[in-house]
Amino acid sequence: MATESIKYLSPDTENKAKTQVFPRPGQHTTGLIDWLTTIDHKKIGLMYGLTALFFLIVGGIEALLIRSQLWDHNMTVLTNREYNQMFTMHGTTMVFLVIMPLSAAFFNFVMPLQIGARDVAFPRMNTLSLWCFIVGGLVLNLSWFFTGGSPAIGWFGYAPLTDTRFAEVIGDMGPDFWIFSLQILGVASLLASFNFITTIINMRAPGMTMMRLPVFTWMTLIVSFLIILAFPAITIALVELMFDRTYGTNFFDFLEGGKPHLWQHLFWIFGHPEVYILILPAMGIVSEVIPVFSRKPLFGYGLIVFSGAIIGFMGFAVWSHHMFTTGMGVVATSAFAMLTMLIAIPTGVKIFNWIGTMWGGRIRFDTPMLFALGFITMFMIGGFTGIMHSSVPIDAQHQDSYFVVAHFHYVLIGGALFGLYCGFYFWLPKMSGRLMNEKLGKFVFTLMFIGFNLTFFPMHYLGMIGQPRRTHTYNEGHGFEMWNQAATIGAFILGVGIVIGIYQFVNSFFNKKLKPAGKNPWDARTLEWTLSSPVKEYNFSRTPIIKARDQAWENNYGSKENHSEKEPLDDHGVHMPDRSWWPLVTALGLFGLCLGMLFHRNIDPSGELVRNYTVAIAGGAVMVFGIIMWALEGPGGYHLFPKEEEE
């Protein structure tokens, strides 16, 4: 990136004297080594995005197989076990390998730019999060190739489905792969969240007070807190489950005194905050996009931020609405019903804020705005059905029916995925430096909107007339066929829309014929739009001094005293930390440790169980070695001397 005009202090890095195993990649590293060792938050964001889009296709194929099986009564596209595996893998993939990492892609790419930082607080740790995510995705999908194939336990892994004695296939390893991959993905999410929290609290440019933070950054902060407080519950639940399956403990084993019910509590204590982890980033994106395309400041900034925080807080107090039919007792059930109804209020507040922002604005209907509008309307439908099943007697009807499937797809696709696609159409020009074809973008939106509604709206009705979810087929005579066929057709239309969208995103990085984006193609409002597209590796040649919320807009249209200033050039130049191999090595060690744990049990010829921890220990040793070398190598660094206009 524009290295010609940059002179550098000492060729390559300053720490040649250090303990080294492989040479540390220097300043001018390019190509594969650069991608493997990068610590640049922008490249990490891109890799998160690309990997997640790949898994979106994987999860989508699983979904289409499910829909094909349900096309007609008593179909045989999938056996019942394969069907269970499909919906387990589909759910797990979409939640942990698609929506969360897509959000992380935007957190990584956008948040540091929005607060005026040169990178996140711990760049190498950020790289480790990325590799842990990729390793976790790999472990989950490796399950297809081993005993029993993929897990068939649902994305919620309810006990006693996970009990080894009830496995349909003897020695079924699916649930073990599921456990270990979720643990690694948990590590990835936790590390990333610690990093984002530190970055937002500590690395804001001068003048960027908390109440000047862009809403997307606020949502990043809130989601990071949700992750660090909610993931421990599932991590421990998974540890307990792993002990049950591997060492015979009785946590969830009802034959030996354990309580499967406890699993549900631990899972949903994580699970409900998790649904807000999935939706708040999309809400943040939409809160950035709507003001831009309405050419008005966000209506009620404080309220939006505050209601986001309240949603996050209350999200920890409603988990048992997933368990209304388990017989928790009247008091608990009523309390959770009431809290669930209450949480709809801050959600509604946000919707009114977005409407208020558009009210009286000069609205432009570019693709990002279409997705934002799609988000609001579709998310509202999902919200309404959510409030419906917060009522306990009504939920008794909805529970385990297609009505619930309709609900959560309205919030997850109509909400989260539309919001994330909105983010791609909005921010990709900043990443790639090129504008995408508007016509194709609108076509993608139309396909997705029609396909999505055709798939999921009928499911409300199917649920009402009694089609159970998680069931591989249905008999003739219930009247389920017609709407299931509509849903299947819709799913394929949605799939085509999603894939064309992905093509368009990837294409914008390679197609030189596309129009250059320039600094601020949308006339947008926040700090990242003051930088060139694509953004230079050092982000800001000089740290900006912030004078107002919506700084880019103020610089263009605001009064003089609201224009941002810049810190004086330091004669040391811009300090850039060095790339590193150790995050990758550490993640590979973790991979080895997991494989070692997965395969440590063998049955010897006499039928005895023998445990062999060699691989696990070797993997663990590599991991520890990676961490030690990482600590010894230090951040390193080199200096850049960008000219001022090169931002």
Partner: protein, 215 residues
Amino acid sequence: MSDASAHALEHHEPVTSTGIPNKKVLMWAFLGSDCMFFGTLISTHLIYRKISATVGGNFLDIRDVFDIELTSFSTFILLASSLFMALAVSAIHKGNLKSTRWMLLGTIVFGAIFLACQVYEFTHFVHAPGNELTLSTYRGEPHVFGSTFYVLTGTHGTHVAIGVFWLLGWLAYSFTGKMSTAHALDVEICGLYWHFVDIVWIIIFPVVYLMEYAL
């Protein structure tokens, strides 16, 4: 650290928005999260303690296997180690390398004694004649107490062990001749972790052990 890079780093010790060093914010965020890890484990233990208190129809008396004198001793040792830790942090802030070393060593030794007690306790419990408490049984009958007990206290023990290795790392580093007050922050963060792990034990000890004698 070579002179050149130490110089470079000093110049770039980032100025943070809050004035609190990044590493410290990171550690506090981790500890907040760790509270939830232990919270989940302790809740699991308490829930099962109440709802599955019998073995073979008889009320479970875990006191038959517990060795409260030993555990009280190891609790005392662990708490005392926090004093050494605090002294080590204070010594490195003052640049007193020799005292830092001794205090780190004291923390490590006390941490190791605690771990040794735990290993002894675990083996002792598993083989207690007539009162064997294993991961899945008590007195030979299926039970959950062993599951929650070993996994909870074992997780805590793992935390202590990680702390011991971390401190050993600093002790080793102090002999390389590169350690200076520039590392005070790192040692302090290590100390934050160590004190936190101690505090968790202050909760576990009454909840898991003492309560069996009181209630």
